[in-house]
């Protein structure tokens, strides 16, 4: 079996028919990961022994003809999910000694389904970044071009899936952290509706925007994984109780008459020509599948970045106050009094971008600024959500580029934080509105770097969204392309 071109369904069939065992499959992926991690930096932690314990248990379940669709399949988890017994760093020195004493709900779901934890993937520190350059554990390289960023914050998960070091990876998305790296690395990614996936045990960045999701080569793989990941959880007060859903339910439904909303604001002057070209071709493909174009307006979309950079830092500044060196995590070696112990532990434990956002957050919440920044941002957040809700009265799905440009070289945007922030201009609105969205591969730019098509659905419209992506992937092969670098083609 060629790991470069294998779907989850094929892996599951192979395991069930005893073509290969979970131990063999896990070892094959671990070997790939081991070889390529030094170059790509995808994983913060690989722990083959632990992985293989799970693989052996999965094999036993399979031998008894038990288990579910994911039993025995290795899954890479973003290092934002607390994983019992595993180092869980969130890409930060602050948690560089933190072996999680409990499982995030997402981890529990995958473990119970018989999934094998392949490793913990690299990420921007505390999920704050769009290039994976802020990780304490070093950069992740884009498998399509090692000089380029993989995107962020889920850069490790995106690069791992792109290089086929993992068939499926969990990730999280607060302002585009799944879709943007998925686009830049040429893989499929889904950010579910806010409340669809439990946040319990997913280390908080901005609680009202954070949502766990997945990356995989194809939409079908994502549907496979989302069936396990999506779950109501009583420990997350923002988790939404929903009837169990089959995310494949719309896969056979033709796209005839599908109304694709095209926001004027997503096709403006800031968009790279290659990106614009790829979008046009993707839309033609959809028209051939029977869909129709509808022009829509998201008049407040330009404000999504400023709104985000008020709300997310505000929530983050508070969420990250727990890291004080008292109960766990980094504690400074040298200090005098209590104040200094906390101040230095935080100074040493956090990187520059995290500090910038904490300070920004403290600023916008402080007295005299609260109304002008925080409340005003929440008001504009409502306007942005209303834009989307009105748009969905005219269309079934919104499409546009995931990012304005393909991957950029390392260091290109590190000097000016705002330039970095603006690379998420098309993804942030979705988080503010709580909508589900995907990015799927839709071609390559002049430099051979992947381009992503973003699909946005109405609340809880994941099944339709996945199906719309799937129909496109049936008639295109962008999602099957593997970077030459990684296409070693080992066989199990």
């Amino acid at each position: 079996m060629n790991l470069d071109r294998t779907s989850l369904r094929e892996l599951a069939d192979g395991l069930r028919s005893r073509e290969f065992s979970s131990v063999e499959l896990t070892q094959a992926y671990l070997e790939r990961a081991h070889h390529q991690n030094e170059t790509l930096g995808c994983f913060i932690t690989l722990d083959p022994e632990r992985s293989l314990i799970q693989a052996r248990a999965a094999d036993q379940r399979l031998a008894r003809a038990e288990g579910g669709p994911l039993t025995g399949i290795p899954v890479a988890h973003k290092d934002i999910f607390c994983t019992a017994g595993w180092l869980t760093t969130c890409g930060s020195r602050m948690l560089s000694n933190f072996v999680a004493p409990y499982d995030a709900h997402v981890i529990t779901r995958f473990n119970e389904a018989g999934g094998v934890i392949l490793g913990k993937t690299n990420m921007d520190e505390f999920a704050m970044g769009s290039s994976n350059e802020t990780s304490f554990y070093g950069k992740v390289r884009n498998p399509w071009s090692l000089d380029h960023v993989p995107g962020g914050s889920s850069g490790g998960s995106a690069a791992a899936v792109a290089a086929r070091l993992a068939p499926l990876a969990t990730a999280s998305d607060t302002g585009g952290s799944i879709r943007q790296p998925a686009a830049l690395c040429g893989v499929s990614g889904i950010k579910p509706t806010y409340g669809r996936v439990s946040r319990y045990g997913m280390i908080a960045y901005a609680s009202s925007l954070d949502q766990g999701g997945l990356m995989a080569p194809s939409a079908a793989d994502l549907a496979w994984g989302l069936g396990i990941m999506a779950d109501y959880d009583e420990r997350d007060a923002t988790s939404v109780a929903r009837p169990e859903e089959d995310f494949f339910q719309d896969f056979e439904r033709p796209l005839t008459g599908l109304r694709i909303g095209l926001p004027r604001q997503y096709f403006g002057s800031g968009v790279d020509a290659d990106v614009a070209q790829a979008m046009e071709e993707a839309l033609r493909e959809y028209e051939r599948l029977g869909a129709v174009r509808v022009d829509i307006d998201l008049p407040h979309s330009d404000l999504s970045v400023p709104v985000y950079y008020v709300l997310a830092p505000a929530e983050a500044s508070s969420n990250l106050s727990r890291y004080d060196g008292v109960r766990y995590g980094w504690r400074a070696q040298q200090y005098g009094d209590l104040q200094e112990m906390i101040g230095r532990s935080r100074a040493e434990g956090f990187g520059a971008e995290v500090k910038r956002r904490i300070l920004t957050g403290a600023y916008v919440l402080s007295q005299g600024y609260y109304d002008a920044y925080y409340l005003q941002a929440q008001r504009v957040r409502r306007l942005i959500q209303q834009d989307f809700l009105q748009a969905f009265e005219q269309c079934d799905v919104i499409m546009g580029p995931t990012t304005p440009t393909p991957a950029f070289p390392f260091g290109a945007k590190t000097e000016d934080p705002v330039q970095m922030y603006l690379s998420d201009i098309f993804t942030i609105g979705v988080n503010l509105a709580g909508l589900p969205a995907m990015s799927i591969p839709a071609g390559f730019g002049a430099q051979g770097l992947p381009l992503g098509l973003q699909l946005i659905g109405p609340h809880f419209g994941e099944a339709r969204l996945l199906a719309v992506a799937h129909r496109y992937q049936q008639v295109t092969d962008w999602h099957r392309r593997v970077p030459v670098y990684a296409a070693a083609g080992e066989r199990v």
Partner: protein
């Protein structure tokens, strides 16, 4: 019922001078110090040197919000307007002190140790 703003005024003290953004002058080093104190982060000289400029850039970005007419628009705190779920009053936790304290920098007799707390 007092408004949020009134409560701010009566219950809290003014500790930060006005700074940054369109609301007043650019962020200076002194106010940055105060912000760092609020956030409990000791900034290095180097950070203090580069942060004001980066902050100007960030404040320039978020100040775009000031131009938006949001008269009569309710703030949106969460994607969904639904009531919070409540849990039954039941003890579900068991004692895991040893496990949790294995993560701690300094413990003694079951307590987390810190430099002397001065009341």
């Amino acid at each position: 019922m007092a408004s949020f703003k009134t409560l701010h005024d009566t219950r809290l003290h003014h500790s930060l001078p006005r700074m940054g953004g369109v609301l007043s002058d650019p962020l200076n080093e002194t106010s940055l110090h105060q912000l760092a104190r609020l956030a409990c982060i000791q900034l290095t000289e180097q950070e203090l040197a580069v942060l004001p400029q980066q902050f100007d850039s960030i404040l320039g970005l978020i100040d775009q919000l000031q131009a938006v007419d949001t008269h009569g628009v309710e703030p949106l705190a969460q994607a969904f307007d639904m009531p919070v779920r409540l849990r039954a009053d039941e003890v579900t936790a068991k004692n895991q002190r040893e496990l949790f304290q294995s993560l701690a920098p300094e413990v003694e007799k079951g307590l987390y140790l810190v430099p002397k707390v001065i009341e």
